[in-house]
Amino acid sequence: MGLTVSPPGVLFAVLGAASLLLPFLTLRANRIVAGEGAAPWEVAGPTVTIAALTAIAAGLACGLLPSRPWLRFAGSLLSLAGLIFLLSRGAANLLGDAGDLARVSPAAGFWCLLSVVMLLMADAIGGLQPGPRLRLGLLTLVLGALALLLWSGALNDLSPMQEYRTRAAAFRTATWRHVALALGSLGVAAAIGFPLGILAFRKARVRAVTLPVLSFLQTIPSLAMFGIMIPILGWVGATVPGAQAVGIAGIGFAPAFVALLLYSLLPVVANTVAGLGSVPAASVEAARGMGMTGPQRFWTVELPLALPVILAGLRIVLVQNIGLAVIAGLIGGGGYGTFVFQGLNQTATDLILLGALPTVLMALVAAILMDIVVEVAQPTLNRKNT
């Protein structure tokens, strides 16, 4: 091809350059007052600044090269490294001259640059057309690097990390609670949704009732849904014997779990119905014609052919639930939402970030993992890539 530069690469380079004009870090006298922004070239000493900015610029320049996906990927890593280097050193530098209560947080410039670099990385990986194994490998690599970075303490001077250190135990509990909410409601939704979806596929009358009801549930705004759960489960907890003992009450884990479960049902059921509907009629007829029994037909023909669509439904649910579970924090359900809402109450932006960033990360990882699973479930596709 005659293209000498990659069009998205140009866009990333321009956006990256523009982002450099925004404040990179914010320095505040304490954790809740408004602060003052510092430009990328103001945050650290000349050596660090030059090295970091060169790395960022060089990485973005690599992104300009078309048809060299590996080089572009390496470029995105280089930019990322420069970005984090500047973040780490800049934070330490700014705090050095400030008081004990002072806080440093990443500012708009950092977030914009981070987004641009991540977009470049995603674009480069897209160009690599990686198979499921390579994608899994890259994901592990990035997560490993992130873990190493956090463990090394290089980011400890940043305000969200300081928020973390004062509540490490609570953070761990919140993580497990968040996972339990998102995955648990998914599991129960699948346990209810698959049989219901299969039934709805087979019986037009069940379908005519189920899908509209579930669609209606889906249209209830999330805050309202969590609100509705409080009186309902409160009543159940108060009247049904033993309910309170297993933790069913108006606020806490139970209402959040049920709300997420209700949201999960539509994608599971609808995709099960759609998946089974997408199985070629001729294949089912052939299976019947060769003497497969109903269960044999279901397990060896219908389910494998419907699986990619069903898994796509689970992917939607999982990513959606990880995001929605934040609202559980509002009704005492735990999870990362606890930090988000505490942060909102205290106008402590960095506490909000402590809840929001891991949520985003968890949703991203879940989306990538589920994409890999969906791809592996398609027999003809994964063969081309291995």
Partner: protein, 311 residues
Amino acid sequence: MIEIDHITKTYGDINAVDAVSMVIETGTITVVVGTSGSGKTTLLRMINRLVEPTSGEVRINGEPTHAVAPYLLRRRIGYAIQGHGLFPHQTVARNIASVPRLLDWPTDKINARVDELLSLFGMDPAEFRDRYPQELSGGQQQRVGVARALASRPDLLLMDEPFGALDPIIRARAQDDLKEIQRKLGSTIVLVTHDMDEAIRLGDRVGVMDGGKLVQYAPPEDIVERPASGFVANMVGDAERPMRLLSLIPVGDLTEDGAAEGAMLPDTASLRDALSACLWTGRDAVPVERDGAQIGRVTLAAIRHRVGQHA
């Protein structure tokens, strides 16, 4: 022997199949031919109970089919569905192995059978075994569909337009192959087509369907020479009729003593071949041979006499 006894299938107001009766002898090929929508597929699917008849019954070797559980009945009957119906998520080998696996054959026996069938249909096992159906041409898919129906060597084979997607050359070869396989194994085949040529070429008996009714059920010569109705005559086609008839009669039937010039024809060739040879080389007679030795000749006059009895 398969006895189809006054079988009817009604969908709403229309009789897709209307009181059809036919007896199919073991070890023969029966071809059901008719226009689109005449009820061929419905008739075929009532034999393995993919469609339950509204009335009437089918007996296989005297046993009514409704006395057997449908899935057990179907495992004994090969079925090549219209438009192949291969499983897109399974390789060619696995598709072909479907019924043997249902019957719990040992793995090495299954593998050997798969390779044998692929070779039989002119597809190199090493090349095609591990492909997915989407990676085959339409004709190859159809051949795999037929191979799958043959896999467990069923005594009875139902085939719904199995050669529809093949080009004329491959199609003719597949028809010859099928005939040979059938002669070798002695299986009973019921084949559905809308192609009269195919019916005449393959059928020991041909059933012609029109609007759900079986309008004629007879050996192919009778269908050509003595069509039971205008519809059948139309299906055979006025222009092609003489040629179709000649293609059914072996040269041996009209061989007489005498000499003739030029290249010889075997006595198993059809009169149609003899006529072509006469016309193409401008001869009035063609020498006929058997096992390399001339046994007589067939003359243009004799051929004309044989065809011209229909004035």
